[in-house]
Symmetry: C2
Subunit: 252 residues, 2 copies
């Protein structure tokens, strides 16, 4: 059972302001909490229905500081979703980490606003063995509830960090490959020689890559448009990411 | 200005039951309505803010049977979105069309429930010049408001039709290539020889391709998993579609 104060506190974490203040975020649902329990993230509180607690009692032992049995009404009050799924966990936000894989492929996101797109891109990175995603400071929060849901648990396997993207790129060695998806004048990704090391910059669908970032791209790329009369205007940002990363990976 | 009856009628089209009954669907926002006006779809009613009507008066002349100026409150009442965007159109549902491109690539969707995924897949088809998408009868409605929004207007450029997928596949010529994404025992899509003609079946993330459809696949394919210890479980259905279609198209 939850007190009114607990309901108020956990509900407040739907907003980044309160998440940042208390240095926590919220994970929901059987699938994503399952991935959380398999990770090294520190869990502050688990709120779950009796059935889930019974089924998982051994696994959660020593894993969470507080374990609270809730009913469906209480779960609905603290959940971000219209149909909550058995369990919700409050998790301690880990300290920001350095980029760990500069000698491999890294994805950089420039102003991705849609939380679902960010989550899907984190999931793509996980699938393709990319360890780091660098986000511009105006990219949506990785701990947004919709982002977390779209990652399907991949959030705990990929290192997502926020930077001033321009400064970050300017501080890279001069010959470091910086790939950027440019609709016009990019080199056909199917034909381009690509390296195993480098940064792939993905811009937002509505704004593309920012004007201040474009001059820093030394390898402009594009996905060819096969639509009739080239009428299709763009691909969703996460679809473009999937196709480009696949192109890098298939060539080893 | 809208009457109460008009508000009630247009609002009801958020549900497929009422859309089917009146054989209409609803398109919203500047971008998608713009694509609608460039299409041959028949428009029943346009409800828009004064500014939008002033800006588009020449274009909408003779294009819609009813043109109604609304204020922001009225627009909010009939909109499916929390932040409506200037204009909403009620459109007559076209008659179901035959599959037009059996001699080319066709996408078939088996039980795709997520409206955003369906919309994103329609957008992928448009980008890659695929003219037909065949949906199983239990795939989400193409006229779901979230689907339409995710297509970004590509809905009007791709022929989406609903079929009993099993019967449809059984009635194809015996050597017609039926590609299906199977996680285990599929042939690596990067290495597989593919043809210019055929059907690519995409299953839902949660259930994969149905048991009754799997035996009909004569070309099982898979996207290799590069994750550390292969821990990543799956890709989003629309991401998998984007990567596979890209693989077919890059090889001409």
């Amino acid at each position: 059972m939850l007190s009114k104060a607990q309901i108020k506190r956990i509900s407040s974490y739907k907003e980044s302001k309160y998440r940042n203040q208390d240095k926590v975020f919220v994970v929901e649902g059987v699938k994503v909490v399952n991935e959380l329990l398999n990770s090294s993230y520190e869990i502050e509180t688990i709120c779950a229905l009796k059935q889930w607690l019974d089924d998982n009692s051994k696994r959660i032992n020593n894993k969470a500081n507080n374990i609270i049995e809730v009913n469906e009404d209480e779960l609905k009050k603290i959940s971000s979703f219209s149909t909550p799924n058995q369990v919700l966990a409050v998790v301690k936000t880990p300290l920001p980490r350095e980029v760990v894989s500069k000698d491999k492929l890294v994805i950089a996101l420039d102003q991705i606003n849609d939380p679902g797109n960010l989550g899907t891109i984190i999931r793509i990175a996980h699938w393709f063995g990319i360890e780091d995603i660098i986000c511009s400071e105006n990219t949506v929060d990785q701990y947004n509830p919709k982002t977390i849901q779209s990652t399907m648990g991949s959030l705990f396997r990929v290192n997502v960090s926020y930077h001033n993207l321009k400064s970050y790129l300017q501080n890279l060695p001069e010959d470091y490959p910086i790939y950027g998806t440019i609709v016009e004048n990019g080199e056909n990704i199917y034909e381009k020689q690509v390296q195993k090391q480098g940064i792939i910059i993905i811009g937002s669908e509505s704004h593309g890559i920012s004007d201040e970032i474009i001059p820093l791209i030394n390898n402009p790329i594009t996905i060819p448009n096969f639509s009739i009369n080239q009428r299709a205007e763009s691909l969703n940002a996460s679809i473009a990411t999937g196709i480009i990363v696949s192109e890098f990976k298939r060539r080893g």
